[in-house]
């Protein structure tokens, strides 16, 4: 009897269907504390027609499909929680078009940040995409669809907002295009048609699998600088994160806590802070088309820092990245995009997870303080990365945990810590992005009933058999 997987092998060739235990186990886990899964097979697709046919075959047999490229999200979202097939999209990696005039790239889901960077460097070094703090092999499409963020998010918001339109394969194998693209014109934006792009952003692949995505690019300015400011207590950095966006001169602004700095210096297990050393650092990215404009922006930032000192706050002068790199070459990771992040990804303990949230900037300080208390109570150093977003309309607040992934007790410890963090930050208005299934369970009592009902109804319409990444957004 021919099985659906046999049909896939006939269509794609046996080499692109993997069912050995080691591969299935590797695709059934990630670096996080989320429970491992075990897919039936890993199916590598390279073409849109192949993807459509795989979806049709799976739909006919009601086999779950989990889309995946690098599997580096920290929400456990590419772990197959109900078995089925992992659809490996890494081979769908064509840069379909780069419109240099309108500054829009159309890409397939397997296109990585490093791939687009290299292409832009050759084609038009004056254009860039925003880069996340993710490995270079991360999928751009995945990070956009999961509404992650990048180094231009202070200006342009989360990456879901950078999408101009997309093409997706629905659960029945049909295709839909969204944005202005739906009208048969180039994908210049989500306006002015009904915005169906949102049906695929932050839905974690439960409404379809994106096969192409149009994303905004931005000009690279000739004058630019990233500098770091060391602040002796967190209030200074949090104030800078709240107030600096209002100057409207920065490309990016972020805060890092002391454990992140020590990890960058190669300390695998930072234990405690020397009371004399900075608790937080913030970095400031400036760029401008002219020297005069650049100098004016820089002067505005220096004035702000002098103002902090006039208020009695303890803060050092900015140190630019080239200087820091001369002190410690590993700090180049803070300025090279996309960045390698080996201090997190190659950590000897093997476990990397987070509670990454978006929330109101106005409640940043309280959320941060209460979050620090939680992680310290669970025995983790407070490794925090924080940024204002979209001009300061909201902020990202991330607590990163490194843990011994092979140790069952440590996984349980990090689960308890993250659950408590999730609840505490939610009380301050912060909600997890790339939302793991366990966090959705915790938010369940708080969801607007109308929202939960509409999510269910959308699934009824778009994926009635629940084959698309089941286990995600089940409300």
């Amino acid at each position: 009897m021919t099985t659906p997987l046999d049909a896939v092998r006939v269509r794609l060739g046996v080499d692109r269907v993997r069912t050995d235990d080691a591969t299935r186990a590797a695709y059934g886990r990630d670096t996080t504390e989320n429970p491992d899964g075990m897919p039936e097979a890993i199916v590598a697709v390279n073409e849109l027609d192949e993807l459509r046919e795989i979806v049709r075959l799976a739909a006919a047999a009601r086999i779950p499909l989990v889309p995946r490229v690098a599997g580096t999200n920290l929400g456990g979202l590419a772990i197959p929680s109900r078995g089925g097939w992992v659809v490996d999209l890494a081979g769908m990696n064509r840069i379909v078009d780069i419109d240099l005039d309108d500054r829009i790239a159309v890409i397939e889901p397997g296109v990585t940040f490093i791939q687009l960077r290299r292409t832009l460097d050759e084609l038009s070094p004056r254009l860039t995409i925003g880069y996340p703090l993710s490995p270079p092999e991360t999928s751009i499409v995945a990070n956009c669809l999961l509404d992650g963020l990048g180094n231009l998010s202070l200006r342009h918001g989360s990456m879901g907002e950078w999408i101009c339109g997309l093409e997706a394969v629905r659960a029945d194998g049909s295709i839909v295009r969204t944005g202005a693209w739906a009208a048969g014109v180039p994908p210049f934006g989500r306006a002015p048609l009904p915005d169906l792009t949102g049906l695929f952003v932050s839905w974690h692949g439960t409404t379809g699998i994106a096969s192409k995505l149009a994303v905004e690019l931005w000009p690279v300015q000739p004058f630019r600088e990233r500098s770091f400011v060391l602040a002796y207590d967190r209030a200074v950095t949090l104030r800078a994160l709240r107030e600096l966006p209002a100057l409207d001169v920065l490309d990016d602004l972020g805060g890092l806590s002391w454990p992140i700095a020590k990890l960058l210096f190669g300390v695998a297990h930072p234990r405690e802070r020397d009371p004399g050393e900075p608790e937080f650092f913030f970095y400031v990215d400036l760029s401008a088309a002219t020297r005069a404009l650049f100098d004016a922006k820089r002067a505005a930032v220096r004035d702000f820092i002098r103002g902090l000192r006039r208020d009695g706050l303890r803060v050092e002068d900015p140190i630019d990245v080239p200087t820091l790199v001369r002190l410690e070459p590993r700090l180049a990771q803070l300025a090279e995009f996309p960045t390698r992040l080996d201090f997190l990804l190659d950590h000897p303990d093997g476990g990397l997870t987070w509670v990454g949230t978006y929330g109101p900037l106005s409640r940043f300080d309280a959320a941060c303080s209460d979050g620090i208390a939680v992680v310290e109570r669970h025995g983790f150093p407070p490794a925090i990365v924080a940024r204002p977003m979209k001009g300061g309309h909201f902020a990202v607040l991330r607590f990163i945990q490194l843990f011994r992934r092979a140790d069952v007790d440590d996984r349980e410890r990090v689960r308890r810590c993250n659950a408590e963090l999730c609840d505490v930050l939610h009380r301050h208005g912060f909600v997890m992005y790339k939302t793991p299934a366990w966090a959705i369970d915790r938010y369940r009592p708080h969801f607007d009933p109308g929202f939960a009902r509409l999510v269910r109804e959308m699934h009824d319409v778009l994926d009635p058999d629940r084959i698309m990444n089941p286990g995600r957004w089940e409300l």
Binding site: L230, Y232, E277, R326
Partner: protein
């Protein structure tokens, strides 16, 4: 010549910065000669952070303990200390009061010479 950070999991970032820098500097024979000539503890204070570098014939150890018997002391803002550590503008910072030095002139001279070895720019 090894550079040892005592209790590295609790080291402050000044200790970590200096350790990283010295490890690269001490690859040069000239820098090693200056390090051996210092032969004793030197206290560095940057802002509110402190590190004591203890130079011996075989290694350099770094701790954050108070350098009670330091042969020399250097203190300033972090920016001034970073400049000095990279061998930049030390004299200018001293003359303008951004960097304060005290102790043995011989040790200070060797420390400055050590920091100025190699490619810092």
């Amino acid at each position: 010549m090894p550079v040892i950070v005592e209790d590295s999991e609790r080291a402050n970032i000044l200790e970590l910065m200096l350790a990283s820098l010295l490890r690269r500097k001490l690859a040069s024979r000239g820098a090693r000669a200056h390090a051996r000539a210092i032969a004793g503890p030197v206290e560095i204070r940057a802002g509110e952070m402190q590190a004591t570098l203890t130079f011996s014939a075989d290694d350099v150890s770094i701790s954050r303990h108070h350098g009670e018997y330091a042969e020399a002391r250097v203190r300033g803002s972090l920016a001034a200390i970073v400049d000095a550590a990279l061998g930049w503008r030390s004299l200018s910072h001293v003359l303008h009061g951004r960097l304060h030095v005290e102790g043995s002139p011989r040790v200070l001279w060797h420390l400055l010479a050590l920091l100025r070895t190699g490619d810092s720019r």
